[in-house]
């Protein structure tokens, strides 16, 4: 019997708020599924959208981005830039045929251990519902037989236009 699907999620955290919220969640012994693996950045503003695409391309089924609440950024206002990039990234993902729901932005202050855990639990279930992304497997298949794929595609489009 095949094992049930377990989503693999990368979480990007800000050193000053959400990473500390994760520390607090630990100190409070709150439990959450082991599906989310955190990476520490100094600020959510450091999040290059490439990181998100890299994670999805490396086998992640979802990416959680966390930062300080608007107005509370330790670098004054960099989380607003994160918000702008996030909205643009969602559009890019949609254009690539990837569900926008696989990427989520959440604000969590250093005091919000419990809300962060609730978000992690909720997001894990949301990604579970979306199912596996399988980007690495798809890429492997794709690059094994690229010629046929392209030809099949072009034949199809010629038929449509005719």
């Amino acid at each position: 019997m095949e094992e049930p699907f377990e989503p693999l999620i990368v979480g990007f955290t800000c050193n000053w708020c959400s990473y500390r919220a994760a520390d607090l969640a630990g100190s409070l012994r709150l439990k959450y599924p082991p599906n989310v693996r955190l990476i520490r950045l100094m600020c959510s503003g450091r999040l290059d959208p490439t990181f998100v695409l890299k994670a999805l391309a490396s086998g992640a089924d979802g990416v959680l981005i966390t930062g300080c609440h608007p107005g509370d950024c330790h670098y004054v206002e960099q989380n607003y830039k994160t918000l702008r990039r996030y909205l643009l990234l969602r559009r890019t993902l949609r254009g690539m045929g990837i569900e926008e729901g696989r990427v989520k932005l959440v604000w969590a202050s250093a005091a919000e251990g419990l809300p962060l855990v609730q978000e992690i639990i909720a997001f894990t279930e949301e990604v579970r519902a979306l199912g596996p992304l399988k980007w690495p497997q798809w890429a492997e298949q794709r690059f094994q037989e690229p010629e046929e794929g392209i030809i099949a595609c072009s034949v199809e489009s010629r038929e449509v236009s005719a």
């Binding site: 000053w16 969640a25 012994r29 082991p34 490396s58 509370d72 004054v76």
Partner: protein, 665 residues
Amino acid sequence: MSEKIGVYICHCGSNIADKVDVGEVARWAQGLSDVAISRDYKFMCSSPGQEIIEEDIKTLGLTRVVVAACSPHLHEATFRGACARAGLNPYLCEMVSIREQVSWVTADRALATQKAKALILGAVRRVVHQVPLDPIIVPIHSDTLVVGGGIGGIQAALELADSGTHVYLVEREPSIGGHMAQFDKTFPTLDCAACILTPKMVSVGEHPNITLLTYSEVEKVDGYVGNFNVRIRKKARKINEELCTGCLICQEKCPKKVVDDVFEVGMAKRKAIYVPFPQAVPKYPVIDVENCTYYIKGTCKACEKFCPAGAIVFDQEDELIDITVGNIILATGYDLFDPRRIPEYGYGRLPNVITNLEFERLSNSAGPTSGEIVLKDGSVPKVVGIVHCVGSRDKNYNNYCSSICCMQSLKFAHLVKERTGAQVYNFYIDIRAPAKGYDEFYQRILDEGTNFVRGKVGEITDVARSPEEEGKLIIQVYDTLAGVQRRIPVDMVILSAGLQPRADAKEVGKLFGIACSADGWFIERHPKLDPVATMTDGVFIAGCNQGPKDIPATVAQGAAAAARIIGRIQQREIQLEPVRATVDEEKCSGCRICNGLCPFNAIVFHEDRMVSEVNHALCQGCGTCVAACPAGAISGTGFSNEQILAQIEGLLAIGIRGTPETVGV
């Protein structure tokens, strides 16, 4: 590339070992590429634990260290220190939080072990790309700027000046003194505010180490910790300060009277040329050009005619002063909550409903009534109501407690009783009197026979429902102890309006590169352990701009901020974390996208070479520009693209369950 990585897995007693199979993880890590040694130990942070790492670095020639233990916020410095002692650059050490992020939060042991492996693999892959770093060393200029001349700023300036360093004290109003100068008595000792404040003001004015710049505002701040360049606008007083003797004949002779809505909060008038109050420091008056007859009609010049020193200069212009300082203290204070925002309290409509600050002036012997507590018609009130928590602890206005209003209201109750013999009602939600001598003061007020009604006032009205309410102000309140609605007729109502952030706190924060909380108070570096520092190195905060507080707490913060700076000045230089962004000029296309992203103005554009450059002393290392550069020309030390991309790959190489296929890759 081949590195020799040492991987150390901590048991943390049973904190980690209970949920993570540490022996299994250590054996597994030994098989990873680049890993020279992998060990587990009961307490890695203990001296023997650290010695294991130091020994391995020396004997095995480790080039990188990964410690899987608690959060880096606890022990990163510990393990970096161990590496440094063994001769390895401390920034080649990476920590993995397998306690806070794995053993404490994961229910299942097998899944926890698996997650620990994934996090460790991420760190092992990441640490390979780390580069040796050295702390950035910046010299500290020994002058300090203090912004705000209230009691907090005064205390800070005096502490610094007494230590022998130079201070620039900048105050927006014509005199220092702040809110405290307006008060009559101070709780709980009932010392006269002026008696304890004015000697300090005089010390500031006379101190050889203090340059006092009143009627001035900071316009521009450039630079960084140790070396800020500040531009101050000294507004034209229209007085030659060299010649003025402070005799104030000008004030006496000036024919124009204006309502003073700053110092006397609209309760009295002042002249168009004035000092805000008799004990003002400095003693020089200022001409209010918006109201002066000469500036409006072109004639008068009474002040000039009578000035024996010839100190009036009608065409004096604002002066711009550029200074360099090493550190900055902001002690910019608070604004009072405007009770007009609560229309049902009738402030501004009902003449005998007054604010706490108005009562301070009313009861002050130097105030508009010479300290007589009287109604607007000049008669003495027989019943006075004091309403607590006006605009505080109220989700419609401010959620927070303004912290000083309880004690201040108790003080008012005492003063009203002492001076008028009136019956006093205090309307409170809870009495908060936690500091030294405060609860004793509360007991004293209770013993004096003041009435306390527990409940939030619903309405203050002059519409009578019965003959005895006729001509009175009626306070409608739900008494939560008696469980009944009450209507209490009084002659005067004092609203204990709460404290609010300054209306321009956001702009001031932006000017100095510090942030405000959702409520608008400046954010301290750490709410418990670093209450006067901010996230911008070299900028400190003191007093009510950080949150509501009383005079002792404000003074303590002013002194604390000064002490922090004196320590730095004595060190002469400061070490900064080397997490910084750097532009590779070869790759930079000069697009300037990064320029506007930096809130610290750390990125400068060189027009001649058409490239951007990051000033490392200003850069705080957030990395936003690194993420934004379309040419990939900006790199961020400590958090480079290579490091993070490698960490992502490592993290994802191991599934949630079962054994990974990719181990050893």
